[in-house]
Amino acid sequence: MFVIGERINGMFRAVARAIQQRDGAAIADLSRKQVAAGAHALDINTGPTADDPAEVMAWLVQVVQEAVDVPLSIDSPRPPVLAAGLRACRRPAIINSTTGAQSKLDAIVPLAVEYRAGLIALTNDERGIPRNAAARAEIALTIVARAMEAGLPTDQLYLDPLVLPVNAAQDQCEEALEAIATFRTLCEPAPHILLGLSNVSQGTANRSLINRTYLAMAMALGCDAAILDPLDKDLMDTIRTARILLNQEIYAESYLQSKPA
């Protein structure tokens, strides 16, 4: 399970403040905490900022990679901000994200090829959010075809079945799970399947419980990556336990005491 830590995001008030004051120590601290908790990569999102977002992105990348040596997921809807982040990265990064919309694919797939980056692709497009698993798979196929055309190896793709908040679109939780199984069969090598996990519990009272329950279900169907909060210990323990139950890690009584792989 490839864990991308979600905490470096300007949507969080403390991070927004750190960005505003260019408080590198606070960002570095949050980076180290997430990696120590088991994150394999860190997502970087400037959030809404009064400053030039491209400049903020480059600054965040520099601060984070000074503190930790993991791949970064450059998170922005805007290609110039993505490019600024990718330029600043010392090691291959992950782009977060494109969708299946033609204009997005045109702008972002070449960036992934140029920077030899992984690419997170949300399975929605110009028509909006798909209503069922089949519609998600159709968009996923468009994305995979475009990646292959452009020469982006399909194991660099992280297809996101687009999870919606359970309190707003309850039926879509199941549709997204169904899509996971389909995505895996789209190409060889198989794409990664990634969840933007926290979305599922947006606005609910039991966020942590809903997150970890959903992730365990998704892992059983083949989800192998997620953007999530690695500081949620129950969630990280659930991942370890699911890995044991799926025979991805060897059982030992005290497996939770050891560092995750």
Binding site: Q248, E249, I250, Y251, A252, E253, S254, Y255, Q257, S258, K259, A261
Partner: protein, 324 residues
């Protein structure tokens, strides 16, 4: 038709462990041994070349079991009473890469040797040979816990490999190894889950995971070998998949089990078709060792000089074939 070989890459890598410390490193060894570092299954250099080839340790004891067969006693008859001389012969005459000293003497049912005497034996062996030392206790938990701290102190700074830590008895040994700069041999009863469990417990006490060598159990050709082989292979595969608690190099104690086999012991009159008794025991050791080398053993511990010679040839041959 050209055959295209399938190549595998693995996300994990087996830890590199060095046994023995030179003068510059705080010990007195003229020679140190480094094992592990593998990024693939054994002897598949196309997948990932192994930086360190397996090594042969020769067993030396402070007390020889009464039931030892003559075939085993003969070549060593002049040194069986002196662990230091035995160690010297193992290295100088038989070319052992390192010495595995077994402290059977302290066992209460055997000689009940006091801890200080065991420590003196360790020091005498260290002074007799330039190679690194593996030190094994007598297996009696209470007595081992008395002996280990004295022994590790006598060898302080020499970066020995000391064992065996078992799930029921590991804490004293871990503390002693931490205090005196040694690495630990961790043993499980042919069980990958328990092996992992023990490694977690040992690292929880503060010993780094790259100071552990695994001993996944005892078996010999015809007597449980396949089971141990598969466990060793499973450990290597888990390590290569990134499981840090199963990413340690592996040691196998071959001699003891091989010489228990009836094939190594039954006389020529009892079993004429089996051929010369003198060659059967060494062959049983060497055959067992060869299998474990294929399963990923980094150190094989042997008893008979002929088995040592044969196993060294096996390793050289496998390494040569793998580098071709």
């Amino acid at each position: 038709m050209p055959v295209e070989l399938v190549r595998e890459t693995s996300p994990g890598r087996i830890f590199t462990v060095t046994i023995g410390a030179s003068a510059a490193e705080g010990g007195t060894r003229a020679k140190t041994i480094t094992i592990g570092g593998h990024g693939a299954l054994p002897f598949l250099p196309g997948d990932a070349p192994s930086p360190h080839r397996p090594v042969v340790a020769m067993e030396v004891m402070d007390a020889v079991p009464a039931e030892w067969p003559d075939v085993l006693r003969e070549p060593l008859a002049d040194v069986l009473d002196s662990p230091a001389d035995w160690a010297r012969k193992a290295v100088e005459v038989y070319g052992a890469d390192l010495v595995c000293l077994r402290l059977f003497g302290p066992h209460p049912d055997w000689k009940d040797t006091p801890p200080d005497a065991a420590a003196a034996t360790v020091r005498a062996v260290l002074d007799a040979v330039p190679v690194p030392l593996i030190i094994l206790g007598c297996g009696h938990a209470e007595k081992d816990n008395d002996v280990w701290p004295r022994v590790t102190e006598a060898a302080k700074g020499e970066r020995c490999l000391v064992g065996v830590a078992v799930p029921e008895n590991y804490k004293t040994l871990v503390v002693a190894c931490l205090a005196d700069g040694h690495s630990i041999l961790a043993e499980s009863p042919i069980d990958v889950n328990i092996q992992k469990q023990l490694n977690i417990l040992i690292t929880e006490m503060g010993l780094a995971p790259d100071r552990i060598v695994l001993h996944p159990g005892n078996a010999s050709l015809g007597y449980g070998l396949e089971y141990e082989y598969s466990i060793m292979e499973r450990i290597r595969l888990a390590g290569l998949q990134g499981d840090k608690m199963l990413s340690q190099p592996v040691l196998t104690i071959v001699g003891e089990e091989a010489w228990k086999a009836k094939e190594a012991r039954l006389s020529e009159t009892a079993m004429p078709p089996w051929g010369a008794l003198a060659s059967r025991g060494p062959a049983w050791e060497a055959g067992t060792a060869a299998a474990f080398l294929h399963a990923g053993a980094d150190i094989v511990v042997l008893l008979h000089p002929d088995a040592v010679a044969a196993t060294k040839r096996t390793i050289a041959g496998l390494a040569l074939a793998a580098s071709a």
